[in-house]
């Protein structure tokens, strides 16, 4: 008997019992779609993190001061770092959390106090207006550049450039709005305001710099520059190696991607288990189907169906069920992913290989869990089966 014929026959028998077939497939549908959704979310966020880090360039070094009591990094210290050979540009940052107000609307945002070089080092673009300039820093200008989200929260669709906002009660003029950068792992890069370093130091009442972004001249020299920076810092602040850290983008990227990969793997594993459970559901229904159709099997055997024919019939039926469930699951997974992406602002990355693998796995589940019931059907004695009521 031909394969196409068998598939047609299986489809007919599934059609004859639509609700049951659907419920059986539901296990596979949920399994496949959750594998796809969870893995695309995991991969999406991992890709986004990698992208963001890559955007900054691989020649970026970051100095983070964790304990500002023992390491007071001043503007002069930072200038010394700039003199290290191989350093192209540096951007010192003073940061904090501040309250920003426009009339009655207010928002809690991260404050970044920095210099004009921040734009080049961190690769940020002003969407409207301009970025900070050297003269703003020198004259302690009370101006701010708003992150994309901050601007939207405070001003809605209006153009904020030229207007004033209250930062911790002091009036600041908005000179620009940054282009949106997106966020990752719960941290938004758009909920910020940026102001001149000198102004920020006064605002947060702290002159010590917490972060310095260092741009190397080229990617090859990054490790050399990193060693130089570490040595300079060690000379400036002896015996305080634990109070600050120097790292490059490569390290950061590796850490981040190992975290997100573990997450992705875990999510995929959990979803995979639900696929397995779906497979057991298929086996269950197929066993019921075999005993329900004992007489049919007897008739088919009496008129000349071989053991192989019966085995194939039931096996194909379970494979068709699981394949159908797999296809629906893949479709549903894509849809749910899209909905989640738009509704919750998650970044989603579909991968063909994951869809294919989860579909093939559902087929495999159909075969594995279909063999036992199909074999049971094929082994039935025709005389007994015919007599069965």
């Amino acid at each position: 008997m031909g394969l196409i014929q068998s598939v047609k026959m299986a489809l007919r028998s599934i059609q004859g019992n639509k609700l049951r077939a659907f419920l059986t497939m539901l296990g596979i549908i949920i399994g496949v779609s959750s594998v796809i959704v969870l893995i695309s979310i995991g991969q999406g966020s991992s890709e986004q993190v990698t992208n963001q880090i890559n955007q900054l360039g691989t020649n970026l070094l970051t100095v983070n001061v964790m304990n500002s009591d023992s390491v007071k990094l001043t503007t002069d210290d930072v200038e010394k770092i700039r003199d290290i050979p191989g350093v192209k540009e540096i951007a010192p940052v003073v940061s904090g959390r501040v309250n920003v107000k426009n009339g009655t609307t207010s928002a809690q945002v991260s404050l970044i106090g920095t210099t004009s070089s921040y734009q080049a080092v961190r690769d940020v673009q002003a969407n409207q207006g301009r970025f900070l300039s050297d003269i703003d820093v020198a004259y302690r200008q009370k101006i701010v550049v708003l992150g994309a989200n901050t601007a939207q929260t405070l001003f809605g669709l209006d153009n904020p450039v030229g207007k004033y906002v209250q930062v911790e009660g002091t009036s600041f003029k908005v000179v620009g709005v940054l282009a949106s950068k997106g966020g990752s792992l719960g941290q938004s890069g758009d909920d910020v305001i940026i102001m001149p370093l000198s102004t920020a130091q006064r605002l947060v009442k702290n002159t010590s710099i917490q972060t310095v972004y260092i741009q190397g001249k080229n990617a090859e020299q990054v490790n050399f520059v990193m060693a130089q920076v570490e040595r300079t810092l060690a000379r400036m602040f002896p015996n305080t190696e634990d109070s600050y850290s120097v790292f490059n983008q490569q390290d950061l990227m590796e850490t981040m991607s190992s975290v997100t990969n573990t997450m992705t793997l875990m999510l995929g594993g959990i979803a995979g288990i639900s696929l397995l459970v779906g497979g057991i559901g298929i086996m269950n229904i197929m066993l019921v189907s075999v005993s329900e159709r004992t007489k049919e099997i007897g008739i088919r055997k009496a008129i000349g169906a071989k053991r192989k024919d019966i085995l194939l019939q039931f096996l194909i039926e379970s494979v068709v069920l699981s394949a159908l469930g797999g296809v629906i699951g893949v479709g549903l997974g894509f849809i749910i992913g899209k909905v989640l992406a738009t509704a919750m602002g998650l970044s989603i990355s579909y991968s063909t290989s994951v869809s294919l693998i989860s579909f093939l796995f559902s087929l495999f589940v159909g075969v594995v869990f279909g063999v036992f019931p199909a074999n049971k059907a094929a082994k039935l004695d025709p005389i007994q089966a015919l007599r069965y009521e």
């Binding site: 008997m1 007919r12 008739i299 088919r300 009496a302 000349g304 071989k306 192989k308």
Partner: protein, 236 residues
């Protein structure tokens, strides 16, 4: 004269039922010529069903030989038996045994399906067979949309579709009223006239008397009742 189409020698079969050994067949021998119309008659528990399963190649004997159309059946494996059933025997059952979810036409097609015949040819032959039993206009009805007599005629068409040398009917009229029974028997007689070998298993003398030859089975043994005789017999 050509070799008989069925040659059974000294066939025995025993099975255990609830711990009791039942000798269903005790050395049965039977020869059936091509073109014969044979009725096997016997009360229930006589070994009639077992004998039918043997002739129908659904089961294998414990001992003895069975040659069907030149093939030794008793040594065959399950799969070979399935092929024999498909090619050599057309079954007609008491309860019709049609597949409820398939239309009349599809039911008739089934034996050809397992034989691997192509769709077009399959449909053509199936239609021809339905026409033979006068049900061409009911080809796309489901079995539950047909009367008992019509269902049995579909079953006969299914038995004929593979043009097997033997038609094996197990109580074909058992579930039908006397009028439709007569119709079914009439169809069988016609088929016999067209050259089909028919084996009819029944417990009803009236039905059996329509056959050319009657054998009686009792307590696992076979007795020749009548060769070419027209008359009424009663069970002694």
């Amino acid at each position: 004269m050509a070799a008989p189409i069925i040659q059974i020698e000294n066939m025995t079969k025993t099975y255990t039922l609830g711990g009791e050994v039942v000798h269903a067949l005790r050395g049965v021998s039977l020869q059936i010529e091509k073109g014969d119309f044979l009725a096997i008659i016997g009360p229930s528990g006589s070994g009639k069903s077992t004998f039918m399963n043997m002739i129908g190649c659904l089961d294998r004997p414990d001992s003895g030989s069975y040659i069907l159309d030149g093939k030794e059946i008793e040594k065959m494996k399950d799969n070979e038996l399935a092929t024999i059933r498909n090619e050599k025997i057309g079954f007609v059952f008491q309860n019709f045994h049609l597949l409820a979810k398939l239309t009349a036409l599809e039911n008739v097609e089934l034996p050809l399906l397992y034989r691997g015949v192509k769709v077009k040819e399959r449909k053509k032959i199936a239609y021809e067979c339905l026409e033979k039993v006068g049900l061409k206009d009911r080809a796309h009805h489901l079995p539950n949309q047909l009367s008992g007599g019509q269902q049995q005629r579909v079953a006969i068409a299914r038995a004929l579709v593979g043009s097997p040398p033997i038609l094996l009917a197990d109580e074909p009229t058992g579930a039908l009223d006397s009028k439709t029974s007569k119709e079914i028997i009439q169809i069988m007689k016609q088929l016999n006239e067209q050259g089909h070998t028919i084996i009819l298993i029944t417990h009803d003398w009236e039905v059996a008397n329509e056959a050319k030859r009657i054998v009686r089975i009792q307590d696992g043994q076979l007795f020749e009742e009548r060769g070419d005789f027209v008359g009424t017999y009663s069970i002694r």
